[in-house]
């Protein structure tokens, strides 16, 4: 079903037995039960970007009899598949539709349905905005009639109608502000919601009282309009966080949800990871991640532990080797004994470290809250003083009350409430176009303040994918033989060999066997070819004589004689050098903190022009390095991807992770970038700084507006008409100013998806395997 369409990597995944795809057991475990034998599975498909993708994916899925219906969501880049438990009495295999998706050339990941609560809150806010909008439009209609000169009894009726419309809107839409203000007051603090709530409630009840006394002015329109504008700000703020969250969880490359447990009688059962007890025997297939810490009982294989400790080369394991949760089994099936439950595993320890290392996030107070700290008391004092002033000087306490209310309404932080969220939403949209997700607005405020950048090495500065470096030295013949052999292995070095020989003719071999933990062996007419470690390919004497440099090596031999040695290094991310240079040009200091070996780190550091580096650090060391810098007053950005980086990510003032990062790493990071290029780091800093600038400009505008409007209100000239004009015009100015960020930050074109750039699979010979 696979051969022609997919990209080369997709093809490899299909031929390899395990691959990174979720297993059927995992899919079954995570599916949502809809009843009537129907299940729903949501998958993230980061590659979809246009209408053709929708049609292709939905069309391909429809071809499968087991799929009842499927729908692609282009905004959240997900596809939700509703599938039947059985077709014509036969049980179905859910991994079939995952393979179908992969065969169309899109990569896909399973993710949990945890993020649903956020949607509920967003809908609540949207409903509140709608109600406030409806009320303010209708009240404004009545108010305009009053301002155009409605007469006594008509005016009274209009006021009563306005009061009737405003009351439910106040309760329904205002509750967000009232509850938040009440919470703050109860803890003896103030926030932006306190002046908002006081202004809204006071203006409503004073207007009601005025209406009762057949007075000329009522402020119902201002009351509801305030709510409307402020709710828009609040909703934007929430939606931005929401979108980032769904996109991030959508990319989740899960730590395993379960493992195959072997019973005493040899029976096999797939159990969720929480139910695995110490002492259980687990079967780990090729391509699976290890679920809990344990010891290998039997089998040999290579283990990719880059996500755990940053070590870039896979390590051979055999009986007796201890392994940790999160490591990826590459070449041979293993049987292991669980030594600890999931909650005591390495992963859980990391999470404990992360909680201990609460960084800038917890201490940071948002700009809006800091502004409110000064703004609220100032405004209340001003209103109270005008009340006293008019009362003592004028003697008319009722009029004094009205002036005080007018001051409160005019100063109510409409523009301030919009100033921050609008800028941040627009900036987040800008970042999203550049392939960067932001978790929340405060992250951007913090990123604008940084003075130093700490990088992890494997997977962050580098792609975590090895690249052949001595292609020119080895000769094409040797390379094509090695690539032909490498095709059969899931070892990353073999796959890199295969990739770098694209376009060459590759021989096929009749008898091929993979020796887990060592390499690949094939019998051909010329003799026995071996590809793998020097020990495996050339025998113990040659291995003892050779020296290991900074690069990883793979040796190709014929009947034990070395033909060629292939040297690999982990390729740096595209634009890594240029990005580091840009960071230096911005006056930021850079450093590498890595868990990898010193020579590897040193060579990369000198190549990228980073003078400070530390190697062979444990997760705890990394977190300490960062929190030490933070405690010395430096505001550090941490960029990292592995589970071992997660505590450091949490300790830093602000943090960033690539989308390929471990789940924990992505959860800990404030920013997640989706593209390969490291340019994302300077871009994010750039946009955040510009956003910070615009926020300050907006504050200046809002304060300038107050300087003009407040004297008018204090002097008693602020009629409801003037208040309405002043409020809406200041809000519009702030929004328009925020939109300028679209012109300030650069635009990049989205990358073509995998399907568009995948070369055709030229090596037809391999398909026959």
């Amino acid at each position: 079903m696979s051969c022609c369409a997919p990209g080369v990597e997709g093809g490899l995944d299909l031929n390899g037995s395990g691959s990174g795809l979720p297993s059927s057991e995992e899919l079954r475990l995570s599916a949502k039960v809809l009843g009537d034998g129907l299940f729903q599975t949501d998958l993230s498909v980061p590659g979809v970007y246009c209408g053709a993708c929708i049609t292709t994916l939905e069309g391909e899925l429809k071809k499968l009899p087991m799929v009842a219906r499927s729908r692609v969501n282009l905004s959240s880049k997900r596809v939700s598949v509703v599938w039947k438990e059985s077709v014509n009495g036969q049980a179905t295999d859910p991994s079939e539709f995952v393979r179908q998706i992969v065969s169309t050339g899109y990569e896909t990941h399973l993710f949990s349905l945890a993020g649903e609560a956020g949607d509920e809150q967003r809908n609540k806010l949207l409903r509140a905005v709608a109600v406030a909008g409806f009320a303010s439009a209708n009240i404004m209609l009545l108010s305009v009639s009053v301002w155009s000169g409605a007469e006594a009894s008509t005016r009274d009726m209009f006021h009563w109608l306005s009061a009737a419309i405003a009351a439910p809107a106040l309760v329904y839409s205002g509750r967000f502000f009232f509850t938040s203000a009440w919470k703050a007051l109860r803890h003896g603090q103030t926030n932006m919601d306190v002046p908002i709530s006081i202004g809204v409630l006071l203006s409503y009840f004073v207007s009601l009282w005025e209406t009762f006394n057949h007075a000329e002015h009522a402020w119902f329109d201002a009351t509801v309009m305030l709510l409307f504008f402020l709710l828009i700000g609040r909703t934007l703020d929430h939606m931005m966080r929401d979108r980032a969250r769904s996109a991030i969880s959508g990319l989740a490359r899960l730590s395993p949800r379960g493992a195959m447990v072997i019973g005493d009688d040899g029976s096999r059962e797939y159990r969720p990871v929480e139910e695995i007890k110490p002492g259980d025997r687990l079967a780990i297939a090729v391509g699976d991640r290890i679920a809990v810490d344990g010891v290998v009982l039997s089998g040999t294989s290579d283990i990719d532990q880059s996500i755990v400790n940053g070590e870039s080369t896979p390590v051979p394991v055999g009986a007796g080797t201890s392994v940790q949760a999160g490591m990826l089994n590459l070449t041979g099936p293993l049987e292991m004994k669980a030594m600890s439950a999931a909650r005591d595993s390495f992963l859980a320890e990391i999470i404990g470290l992360m909680e201990a290392a609460e960084g800038g996030r917890a201490r940071y107070r948002r700009i809006a809250d800091r502004a409110a700290q000064y703004y609220a008391p100032a405004v209340h004092l001003l209103a109270f003083l005008s009340f006293l002033g008019w009362g003592f000087l004028g003697g008319d306490w009722k009029h004094a009350m009205l002036v005080a209310v007018a001051v409160l309404i005019i100063t109510c932080p409409c523009a301030l409430g919009l100033a921050v969220p609008v800028v941040q939403v627009v900036a987040a949209g800008r970042l999203f176009q550049n392939g960067i997700m932001v978790k929340d607005g405060s992250a951007m405020e913090r990123l604008a303040e940084i003075d130093s950048v700490y990088f992890d090495k494997t997977g962050t500065l580098t792609l975590g994918r090895p690249r052949l470096v001595n292609r020119g030295d080895v000769g094409e013949d040797a390379l094509s033989i090695a690539a032909g052999l490498g095709f059969y292995s899931r070892h990353p070095l073999s796959q890199a060999l295969f990739r770098s020989a694209q376009g060459l003719f590759m021989p096929t071999f009749a008898e091929i066997s993979e020796v887990p933990g060592a390499g690949v062996e094939a019998k051909a007419e010329a003799g026995v070819y071996r590809l793998g470690s020097r020990l495996f390919a050339c025998g113990p004497e040659a291995a003892a004589a050779a020296q290991q440099g900074a690069e990883s090596e793979v040796v190709l031999s014929l009947d034990g004689r070395e033909i060629a040695t292939f040297l690999f290094e982990d390729a740096p991310r595209p634009d890594a050098e240029a990005s580091i240079e840009t960071l230096h040009a911005k006056g930021l200091s850079t450093a590498i903190i890595s868990g990898d070996r010193a020579p590897v780190v040193a060579s990369l550091a000198s190549r990228l022009g980073i003078s400070q580096w530390k190697a062979a650090l444990s997760p705890r060391d990394k977190a300490e390095a960062v929190s030490q810098a933070v405690s010395h007053g430096s505001r550090a950005l941490m960029v990292g991807d592995g589970i071992n980086d997660a505590p450091a990510l949490a300790a830093a003032h602000v943090s960033m992770a690539p989308a390929t990062a471990a789940d924990v790493g992505r959860q800990a990071a404030d920013f997640v970038f989706l593209r390969d290029s490291l340019e994302a780091v300077p871009i994010a800093i750039d946009v955040s700084r510009k956003a910070g600038q615009l926020i300050r400009q907006n504050f200046a505008l809002a304060i300038g507006y107050n300087i003009v409007a407040v004297p008018i209100a204090i002097l008693g000239y602020a009629t409801p008409l003037i208040a309405a004009l002043a409020m809406s015009s200041s809000s519009i100015i702030v929004v328009v100013n925020a939109l300028r960020i679209n012109r300030m930050a650069r635009v990049e074109h989205p990358e073509p998806p995998l399907a568009a750039k995948a070369p055709t699979l030229g090596q037809g010979a391999h398909i026959a395997v």
């Binding site: 246009c50 209408g51 929708i54 049609t55 939905e58 692609v72 969501n73 282009l74 905004s75 959240s76 809908n123 949207l126 409903r127 709608a130 109600v131 409806f134 439009a137 209708n138 209609l141 008509t154 009726m157 109608l161 419309i165």
Partner: protein, 51 residues
């Protein structure tokens, strides 16, 4: 004055209609995939009931 008796309820009713329509679109999830909807509008073969 007397025409207001009709006009105001009509105005409120029309506004309310808009509000109800919005709440309906929200509840039926029509804002879930704005990007996708933009493309689906151009797709001829999409969303037809199955024969």
């Amino acid at each position: 004055m007397s025409n207001l008796v009709f006009l105001i309820p009509i105005a409120l009713f029309l506004g309310g209609l808009g509000l109800v329509a919005f709440l309906w679109t929200l509840r039926t999830g029509q804002y879930e995939d704005l990007d996708g909807a933009a493309w689906r509008a151009l797709d001829d073969g999409d969303d037809k009931p199955e024969a």
